[in-house]
Subunit: 141 residues, 4 copies
């Protein structure tokens, strides 16, 4: 089963709410399905105009590679040219830092990804995790 | 003044609600700001995965050219090579058919665009107009 | 449920077998998952080198738009600039002719697409349909 | 002589079989001909959706440069900007790490390349070599 639009809305709302509770800067949040296609997105008032592309890039790389943002960052730091090449084959659509999280169902299958941007990458990831867990799914950050 | 996230959410909800009342296929709706950047998006359950790109293309062309989808279609039918050239300079991101609507405030200024896809282009435009009017703004379809 | 690699292999083998029975030119066959990502591909000996891109384009457009090749061709013939614009937003990856078929499961959900190229578009579609039906799934051609 | 579809199938099957014997993660395997064009591809169940692009990038770079993945990686580590520039001229389609292997016939001529992704690059290369050798051809890893 994929992620329903209702679940996507709830994840986004919970991510934004967590950001406000933590006192973060305005966040932007995207939910992608298991094929990496956009299901829902919201950009908070005050966020910079280009935030869709960053949120999308975090989530898209997670889905395409089956690796969350933290694992992508580790690979990029160990072998920068590899992640550069990966970005080539994916048309420059990969942003390999925390804030991109894999969404798994109870059986462990990847059913989508959530991408958050706006504050530090680590804070983005904390808010993302809270968003995913708000619908009872599992976040791999 | 731009469009707030609250207004964007209300416009999307009203567009989807209108689609359901009209018995349309599942819709996808994007709201862009006055600079053509994504503010919010939702894809209804059952819509094809590529619908973000189509919705975005309708709204993006509207903003970039200052022409709603109907006017873009008229131009494309009169002078297909012109719209082809336009798509060249905008990186292929323009989808010149109804369903892309300009959002104007009370003073007539363009403050964003809404793009809808999923049913026929004409039905998409009707739903889009209802969405914009739900927040008291003016839709140029 | 998606398409398993075993099912993809069987669909490709049945498509190629049908082509041989019909006396068609060498065929190339791709299977995409519900997100439009390549699951399996084979190009018969004697086929031209560029056949992956054609097969992929037929299947990819079917998935992204939720429309099989025949419906895409009808739209392209009615409104060529629209399909041109669609190709822009999808990076030129859409080949809107028969031979791209949607794969539906018993409940009617799209679970992938199969793309065939090598002979006439109509013959490609016949072979594609036989391929999909070989695993008990439903082809929308 | 090029690689026949039968040989490509056998190479892919042997690569996947080797991966299972070694206990590797799900693999994806592509076979390209001497011109760098896709001949066959399979993605095992459970592999991330973007694996075609990675497998293709490993094999494509091998063919285009006449250098297997290990040699490409050595060059990338010595001179990252060079491999970046190479990726520019090849449209971002080169992934310069192990897992891309050149396929040579008995006379030493390059007749294709095989690309494997899914586990560590070094394990990918071991499985790739086994695949090529399964049809009596020579792998340069």
């Amino acid at each position: 089963m994929g992620i329903s639009l209702d679940q996507a809305r709830t994840m986004i709302a919970a991510t934004l709410e967590t950001g406000r509770e933590m006192g973060l800067k305005p966040l932007s949040v995207v939910v992608l399905d298991a094929g990496g296609h956009v299901q829902a997105f919201e950009r908070e008032d005050g966020a910079a105009p280009g935030r869709f592309a960053i949120a999308h890039g975090k989530a898209y790389g997670s889905i395409m590679l089956g690796m969350a943002g933290s694992a992508q960052m580790a690979r990029a730091e160990a072998q920068a040219y590899f992640m550069g090449a990966v970005n080539g084959v994916f048309g420059g659509q990969v942003v390999p830092v925390p804030g991109g999280v894999l969404i798994r169902d109870g059986s462990g299958s990847v059913i989508g990804a959530l991408g958050v941007t706006g504050d530090t990458s680590d804070n983005d990831a904390v808010a993302a995790q809270a968003g995913v867990e708000a619908v009872g799914l599992v976040a791999e950050i």
